[in-house]
């Protein structure tokens, strides 16, 4: 079966996502990168579920999708909050507290 391809795809997505999180300065882009990672995870689960013929993977994937939605909701809310206060969503500027 084509499990490995799925896994590789997932790994690639994961790496892209991680890269995005680290490299991007725009909060929204970072959020999307995180979504990428979560989806890579979903792909993993589904691929494994198919290979093993159990439904746990599917279930897990569903949970992830749902929770990811919630996370994005909260995340966007926070970003909006920040934008309200400082008219910018560049994460670099969010470094008032350090040391």
């Amino acid at each position: 079966m084509l499990v490995n391809q799925f896994l590789i795809l997932a790994a690639v997505l994961f790496c892209i996502g991680v890269y995005g999180v680290i490299a991007r300065r725009n909060a929204v882009m970072v959020l999307m990168s995180i979504e990428l990672i979560l989806n890579s995870v979903n792909i993993n689960f589904l691929a494994f579920a198919l290979r093993n013929g159990s439904i746990d993977g599917h279930v897990f994937a569903l949970y992830i999708i749902a929770i990811a939605a919630a996370e994005v909701g909260v995340g966007l809310a926070l970003v909006l909050l920040v934008y309200r206060n400082r008219k910018s969503i560049a994460l670099d500027e969010l470094s008032e507290m350090k040391g």
Partner: protein, 800 residues
């Protein structure tokens, strides 16, 4: 009824009560001390009476004990070993070791006890007048009494610990007494120096005691049932227990170092002259007749240890003789150039102590002890006389050149006593000094220490010389300075500050005068003894006169051991009974026999039981197979008039020469020749062989005085002040410097720095880590994932 009286007396003598209660002798003054401290100020005589009474009390006990001892000795058979009266109570136990406290009374200790108690009493009486009105009158008597207590305790001590106790207490009191007028920085410094120098010597005391204790303890426990501290035990062990050579040598040397410090032997003698900063009674008690004798006493007390350790009689020279010899000459030379009368006496004391040491080192035990005895009287007398002068004539000055002279007219009693004691000190027949000093020199020579005999004679010559000089400066010529009634606020003498000052201004102005009875009576008593004490052991007059030898010198015979089980009881140790005289194995008079032909030990051992001739020689040469020795075998030089005469002549010569020099140097003003005769009877008599005056004059002036005597003495003094003393002070200074350096650099920088440094490091790390907490989300994320990835990689590599 006379018979009854005699029987009563006999009862009293034979009872031995005083002997068994000799331990009370130090306790009396100790108690008195406490009383003076607490109630002294409230008493009518400010506590001084307590001091005097306690000393007299001790004196009574001491004399009583002495008489009983004499009685016991006379009762004993010829050559029978007389057991010392030993009592011991447990003081403390630790780690299986038993530490006793008690008394060890025999001829030696009794001699010293009597001397100390006697001199102390006189000095205290003397002080009643001398320190009248002093600010710290009470303190003075308290310290004086405690001092005597310490000395007495050291003398009766049954073991080393107790001895150290007394030894240290003396040190403390000398500190207090020398520094009595501590308002003067000089005095307190002198006090510090004295205490510190002696204390340095005490390292030796501690180390030596430890070494001997651990080497001897098992043997003494086994054979005598006493601890390795016990003096008796140590003596027996040294002679009988086949001590390890290293151990006993180290022990003896270490102890001797302590003696050097305490008895002001070369090179630790420099503290003694400084110690003259104390009041004169203190000088007379501590630094002439008692405290400085402690070192000599220790050597005499543990003589067997030194005998073995220093290999006395075994070789032509040993540490003790060397030190003693050097001290005699050096100190005498130094005495030449002193202008302070007390310093002259101080150096003469040092030199006399040198004699004692040399005597002990050369196996002349008895003469040395006897010299302690006689020296105490005339030296104390001299000091007190000096005190009397400064007290009543020279207005608290001791400067012979500046403030004295011609005093013989004003203070006849002082003068007479001084002259008598001086003659005694010089060792002129028939004064006390002659019998002791001459004996020392004689025996030293007889025991084969020829070199040191010469040294002794030279010493005698010098002694005579400097004493004459001092005498001349003080009592002859015209009154000078203070004694001439001049006012003098210039000289910074210790007394200048203390309160007696005022009380004596008056006298200073109506000129010098004789002191009152409280001062002169002690002087006269001492002078009498200085004259007569020699008869106690007047060897020249034959056997029957050698009383001291009979009473004091321990008989060196092999004492049989009881069965070990019963040792404890029979020796009276650990019980409160006195010692039962042990059965004898051999009875031999320790009569004279030449030291060369002592038979070999082995032979002696086999025949020890029946042959007295051998048994006698056993002790000291080698350990007896059975039985115990407590004293080494010593020999006495047969008295020969020629020798004696020679030494006397030397002495007289010294006086004479010195006299002429003095006259030359100190009273040039008047025509020498006329002045001489008119001024002085003695010289007028001796005029007969002074005919060729110019020749003599020339000789002395050019050759001896400017040629030899003065340069040498001066040089010696310079060396003394700048090198020896310099070293001693230098050591202190250097230590301070080192201390400062160590403290500043090592302690504060390195050790402490390391500590504070670690704190700084922690903070530094914090700062170093700061960039990590940059506040930037993306960097946090990067760190997070990087860490995860690295961890993953490493662990994968490790685990697969």
């Amino acid at each position: 009824m006379f018979a009854e009286a005699s029987t009563v007396a006999h009862e009293a003598l034979s009872s031995g009560w005083f002997l068994e209660h000799a331990f009370l002798i130090p306790i009396i003054p100790a108690v008195a001390f406490a009383l003076i401290i607490f109630f002294g100020k409230k008493l009518p005589m400010k506590g001084s009476e307590l001091g005097v009474l306690s000393m007299i009390g001790s004196l009574v006990f001491a004399v009583g004990a002495a008489l009983q001892w004499i009685h016991r000795v006379n009762g004993a058979g010829e050559g029978q070993f007389i057991d010392p009266v030993i009592r011991s109570w447990t003081w403390w136990n630790s780690g299986g070791f038993h530490f006793g406290i008690g008394q060890h009374i025999d001829g030696l200790s009794l001699t010293i006890l009597v001397v100390v108690a006697f001199i102390s009493s006189l000095v205290q009486i003397y002080s009643l007048e001398y320190l009248r009105g002093d600010r710290r009158y009470t303190h003075f008597f308290a310290s004086l009494t405690l001092f005597s207590a310490g000395m007495l305790n050291m003398v009766v001590a049954e073991n080393m610990i107790q001895l150290i106790l007394g030894w240290e207490i003396m040190g403390l009191c000398s500190f207090m007494l020398i520094g009595h007028w501590w308002e003067e920085g000089a005095n307190s410094r002198a006090a510090l120096k004295a205490f510190f120098t002696t204390r340095t010597g005490d390292i030796g005391l501690l180390v030596g005691t430890s070494v001997l204790f651990f080497s001897a303890n098992s043997w003494t426990q086994e054979h005598l049932g006493v601890s390795g501290f016990s003096i008796r035990g140590l003596s027996a062990w040294a002679l009988t227990g086949n001590p390890g050579h290293a151990a006993i040598t180290v022990g003896a040397v270490a102890l001797f170092i302590a003696c050097i410090g305490k008895s002001g032997q070369f090179p630790l003698h420099t503290w003694l002259p400084d110690a003259m900063a104390g009041p004169t009674p203190v000088s007379s008690l501590l630094h002439s007749s008692t405290m400085v004798v402690a070192g000599v006493f220790l050597v005499a007390r543990l003589y067997p240890v030194f005998f073995k350790g220093m290999n006395i009689l075994g070789s032509g020279v040993n540490l003790i003789t060397v030190i003693g010899g050097i001290t005699i000459v050096v100190a005498a030379a130094l005495a030449f150039v002193q202008t302070d009368i007390k310093k002259v006496l101080a150096y003469s004391t040092v030199s006399q102590l040198g004699y004692m040491m040399m005597g002990l080192g050369a196996g002349a035990w008895m003469p040395a002890v006897f010299h302690i005895f006689t020296h105490a009287f005339f030296k104390a007398c001299l000091f007190l006389a000096a005190g009397s002068i400064s007290h009543s004539a020279s207005h608290h000055s001791f400067e012979m050149k500046k403030d004295m002279g011609g005093l013989r007219k004003f203070m006849p009693i002082t003068f007479t006593t001084w002259i008598i004691s001086t003659l005694a000190l010089c060792g002129v027949f028939p004064f006390a000094g002659f019998f002791s000093k001459d004996e020392i020199i004689d025996n030293v020579g007889h025991n084969g220490y020829t070199v040191f005999m010469v040294v002794g004679l030279v010493g005698a010559f010098m002694t005579a010389a400097y004493m004459t000089r001092a005498t001349y400066l003080t009592f002859f010529g015209e009154p000078r300075g203070a004694s001439a009634g001049e006012s003098h606020d210039d000289h910074g003498d210790a007394h200048a500050t203390h309160d007696t000052h005022d009380t004596h201004d008056a006298q200073a102005h109506h000129g010098p005068h004789e002191s009152n009875l409280l001062i002169t009576v002690p002087l006269m008593i001492l002078a009498t003894l200085a004259l007569g004490a020699g008869l106690f052991n007047a060897t020249p007059f034959g056997e029957s006169w050698e009383r001291m030898t009979k009473w004091v010198e321990p008989r060196s015979v092999v004492v049989a051991d009881m069965a070990h089980a019963s040792v404890g009881e029979t020796r009276g140790v650990r019980t409160d009974d006195t010692v039962a005289p042990p059965m004898m194995m051999s009875s031999t008079p320790t009569a004279t026999a030449s030291g060369e032909e002592t038979p070999v030990g082995g032979e002696a051992l086999t025949t020890a039981s029946e042959s007295s001739a051998h048994a006698e020689s056993v002790c000291g040469t080698s350990a007896p197979e059975m039985g115990t020795c407590y004293a080494p075998q010593l020999h006495h030089a047969p008295f020969k008039w020629p020798k004696a005469a020679m030494s006397v002549v030397i002495v007289l010569l010294g006086m004479l020469i010195s006299w002429l020099i003095s006259v030359q140097m100190y009273t040039k003003k008047a025509g020498f020749f006329v002045g001489l005769t008119s001024r002085n009877k003695l010289l007028a008599l001796g005029y007969g062989f002074l005919v060729n005056k110019y020749y003599l004059d020339h000789l002395y002036e050019k050759v001896i005085v400017h040629g030899i005597a003065h340069p040498i003495a001066k040089a010696a003094y310079w060396v003394n002040q700048n090198i020896l003393d310099g070293i001693i002070n230098g050591v202190g200074l250097v230590t301070r410097r080192v201390a400062g350096w160590v403290y500043r650099n090592v302690d504060q920088r390195v050790v402490d720095g390391a500590v504070n440094g670690s704190g700084a490091v922690a903070r530094g790390t914090g700062n170093a880590l700061r960039p990590v907490q940059s506040g930037k989300v993306s960097q946090y994320g990067a760190l997070l994932f990087a860490a995860a990835a690295v961890a993953g990689l490493v662990l994968i590599i490790v685990n697969t």
